[in-house]
């Protein structure tokens, strides 16, 4: 059979990086084909080349057997290639139909768009109300709008870039059902992901990328997570040692934390209650954008407007305390954004060590020898791959910078460590190392609060789980009692009924 899409020797160089190096890829008609690779392996670059958003430096691209040059996304759409980006491009204030209509040929009227949306939606189980404004939709519904929009172009190949990173487990299942139905109708699907389970569940074939090169092409259903992981990173991550311990005293005690948002697109915090004890890891699950940023800022002290008495650290009311004061009490925080928040991009690692470590400051003067020794120690202790303490933070890879930032806080012997997305964008080896570091800290009696989008990760390291949805926080549940389904339901904010029912029973 002639492949729907065939890439031959595709290479793309950015200043300083070879993002794609002679990549081959074949997608058959009606096939769900995965492109697997860790962050920075070159998946996004490859997809952009196929969709005409980037041009390859070398190699050929064949569409139904004929060589083509795809100069722009419009040209890709004309060929029959549709794309659903990881970050949606929808206008919040417009209705679903208007958003879809904007991307359509202008020969159609808005009325036509509405009927066609209804047709496509019912054919593939993508229920969306065309009249609803986008800002009232959940993330899963927004993604459905994007898929509908792509499907209205009658694509022969649909590309999805990490589509499940924003979905609850239930929404993910619905998406998979839709994709299977599309494939059965003959549409090829290029599915970009770094999640092994999903690929094994959904995809017929899988091309694995490592450092810009194809490291294997396999049938995922016949592989194990371990074998896929070996192809993806060249090694298997070591298993984590997670022993149960009796947690100690309450370290962080949050009661009645309600906070109006500062930005018009933020999420209001509503009556948050939470406690974290010494020697335990509490995981915060939830689709991002449900108030995690706001909660973290209120806890770290970057936003010190919380109502008095709502945040207690070792019994001290710190709701209105600044960052430095909380840090003196033993609270340390690793933010999600590494460059620009956790570290100043253009400054050296030594200078970045100074951001939260004032050990090398005496009477207002910086002792640079001591600062460089501190940075050097962090680099050695946490296995940060960097030429030295004078290297600029921005020249490190995401994983190495994360090891440095986390190391900077861990090395300060925190009593409460709050970590946001500890392993997002970090390669698998470094991620395992980071999780191990967190558990070790827990075993030393530190209290940990970990906010993550990766449910697997939370299940792996947490003792208790809470779920955040629409600015509220669920009651906590022991990880051993929790299931992915339950947490998934809670992620849509449905724990209230659950708790109410339990009270009635």
């Amino acid at each position: 059979m002639i492949p729907r899409l065939e890439l031959d020797g595709i290479s793309k160089r950015y200043p300083g990086v070879l993002a794609n190096d002679g990549v081959h890829l074949r997608v058959a008609p009606g096939e769900i084909h995965a492109v697997l690779g860790e962050n920075g392996a070159g998946k996004s670059t490859l997809v952009k080349i196929v969709y005409g958003a980037l041009r390859a430096d070398a190699g050929t691209l064949r569409w139904n057997g004929a060589p083509v040059r795809i100069a722009s996304p419009a040209a890709a759409r004309a060929l029959g290639i549709g794309m659903v980006y990881q970050h949606f491009a929808l206008f919040d204030t417009l209705s679903v139909a208007e958003n879809v209509w904007l991307g359509l040929d202008k020969r159609f009227g808005l009325r036509d768009a509405q009927t066609r949306i209804a047709q496509v939606a019912s054919a593939y189980g993508l229920e969306v109300d065309p009249a609803r404004p986008v800002h009232t939709l959940s993330v899963g519904e927004r993604q459905r709008v994007e898929v509908v929009r792509a499907l209205l172009g009658n694509p022969k190949l649909l590309i999805l870039d990490e589509p499940t990173s924003v979905l609850t487990p239930q929404a993910k299942e619905r998406l998979f059902a839709t994709l299977r139905r599309l494939a059965a109708d003959g549409c090829s699907i290029l599915y970009i992901s770094h999640k092994l389970d999903e690929i094994r569940e959904l995809c017929d074939r899988c091309t694995v990328l490592r450092a810009g090169r194809v490291s294997g092409e396999v049938e995922p259903a016949r592989e194990t997570n371990a074998s896929l992981s070996r192809l993806m990173i060249g090694a298997e991550p070591p298993p984590l040692r997670h022993t149960t311990r009796r947690p100690g005293d309450v370290v962080l005690d949050v009661r009645g934390l309600s906070l109006a948002t500062r930005s018009p697109f933020g999420t209001e915090l509503v009556d948050i209650a939470l406690d974290v004890r010494a020697g335990e890891v509490v995981g915060v699950a939830g689709v991002s954008g449900n108030g995690q940023q706001e909660l973290l800022a209120a806890l770290s002290g970057e936003d010190a407007r919380a109502p008095r008495g709502s945040i207690r650290l070792f019994g001290n009311d710190v709701a209105r305390a600044g960052v430095a004061q909380r840090r003196r009490l033993g609270l340390r925080f690793v933010p999600e954004e590494r460059l620009g928040r956790g570290a100043a991009p253009t400054l050296s690692l030594a200078a970045n060590a100074l951001l939260t470590r004032s050990d090398a400051v005496s009477r207002g003067w910086i002792r640079f020898g001591a600062v460089e020794r501190l940075a050097g120690r962090l680099i050695a202790r946490f296995d940060v791959k960097a030429p030295g303490a004078r290297t600029a933070a921005q020249s490190l890879s995401g994983g190495n910078l994360q090891k440095f930032i986390l190391g900077r806080e861990v090395d300060a012997a925190p009593k409460l460590l709050i970590v946001a997305q500890p392993t997002a964008g970090v390669d698998v080896g470094a991620a395992a190392r980071i999780r191990g570091e967190l558990l070790e800290l827990r075993d030393q009696g530190c209290a940990l609060l970990v906010v993550s989008e990766e449910l697997d990760e939370l299940f792996e390291i947490s003792d208790r789980l809470v779920v955040m949805a629409k600015g509220r926080l669920s009651p906590s549940i022991a990880t051993s009692d929790a299931t992915v389904e339950l947490v998934g339901e809670w992620m849509s904010g449905l724990w209230q009924q659950a708790t109410v029912q339990r009270q009635h029973a």
């Binding site: 200043p15 419009a74 600044g322 620009g340 928040r341 570290a343 100043a344 207002g364 910086i366």
Partner: protein, 358 residues
């Protein structure tokens, strides 16, 4: 079409040499300009680049103009590094002159030379007061400091005009808008007889060292710069952005005020409506040409001072308008910005634009 593409690793050596390239470009453009104006380019360039440094007297004159430029630019370098855009140093300079001038006018026949110290302190306080208004407006009402500091320049100039036309006018000055001439005891001591260079030069050199230590060795200076480079990292670290705002504005305002007092109690010796001559604005160029670095500021101040003197000489020797000074200053800044852009980006020719995203 032409496109700028970021370089992976901008060369550090080129980035340091960029001001020198800019200077070379300025010289070339200047030569072309003289040729177009029908003057001998070599003679024209000599007026700008040789005459101002050819003997001790010329060097002394150079220092008279370079001193206020360097003092103001040092403060601005701190302010700009903190991402606080104080462009109203001209007004703070005027307030410094007013503060210093007021103290100087209190002197009696018996007053000793010790009064110079209070004059300078009053000048610095005057500049800090003016910049403090900007800080207060930003802190309390989030008013953009670029606008407020600039608008306060005009207020300062009007205030000076009102004082020298009204309450501070010299009663024996034939109704000219000027104050009394300050008593000799209150004048900033000169370095040598017959030269106008005064103790301000030494103050500027001490200030260079002090600002270097503040920026590169002090905890407060570090916090301030992190606030400018990565504001969210500074907030995460717990560095006070309000503290940085006030420090930046009070430091830059204080330095501009000090320069104003040195000018009033130095070369001017009285207050007239002509106290502001643009040092406060020229110092912005000095700060950037000097890479916001205290040592760089010294060289940049000397260069800008050469342009001032060169412009005056071009008027008298070559019969060219004095506005040539501004042309040279502008050429230098423009060339510097172009060189900086080329150090950080490479120019690429593309046959057709490449759409980046749908």
């Amino acid at each position: 079409m032409l496109e700028l593409e970021p370089r992976a690793q901008p060369s550090r050596a080129l980035s340091l040499a960029s001001p020198l390239f800019a200077l070379a470009l300025t010289v070339v453009c200047g030569a072309v300009l003289f040729a177009l104006l029908g003057k001998d380019p070599l003679r024209g360039l000599a007026v700008f680049f040789v005459e101002p440094v050819k003997n001790l007297y010329a060097l002394s004159e150079l220092s008279v103009k370079a001193t206020p430029l360097a003092l103001i630019a040092l403060g601005l370098a701190v302010s700009f590094r903190a991402n606080v855009w104080n462009i109203g140093a001209e007004g703070q300079f005027v307030l410094g002159a007013l503060g210093g001038g007021w103290v100087a006018m209190q002197a009696g026949p018996a007053t000793g030379a010790w009064l110079v110290a209070p004059i300078l302190v009053a000048g610095a306080l005057g500049g800090m007061l003016w910049a403090g208004i900007v800080a207060l407006l930003r802190d309390r009402f989030n008013a953009n400091e670029i606008l407020t500091s600039l608008m306060l320049v005009y207020v300062a100039v009007l205030l000076l005009g009102w004082l020298v036309h009204g309450p501070w006018k010299d009663p024996h000055g034939y109704n000219f808008p000027q104050t009394i001439t300050f008593l000799p005891a209150t004048r900033v001591p000169r370095l040598a007889e017959g030269l106008r260079a005064n103790a301000g030069v030494l103050i500027a050199l001490v200030a260079v060292a002090a600002f270097w230590v503040f920026l590169f060795r002090s905890w407060r200076g570090f916090q301030l710069q992190v606030g400018g480079l990565a504001p969210r990292a500074a907030r995460y670290a717990g560095f006070s952005s309000r503290g940085a705002l006030w420090t930046a504005l009070l430091a830059s305002g204080g330095m501009a005020g000090l320069a104003g007092a040195l000018e009033a109690a130095g070369p001017l010796g009285q207050l007239t409506p002509h106290v502001p001559v643009g040092y406060g604005f020229a110092a912005i160029i000095v700060a950037f040409v000097g890479r916001l670095h205290p040592l760089g500021v010294v060289f940049a101040a000397l260069l800008m001072s050469m342009f001032y003197i060169g412009g005056e000489l071009a008027q008298s020797r070559l019969g060219l308008p004095k506005s040539l000074t501004g042309v040279f200053q502008g050429l230098l800044l423009f060339a510097l910005l172009a060189c900086d852009a080329l150090v950080r980006f490479r120019v690429r020719w593309r046959s057709r634009p490449e759409p980046s995203r749908a």
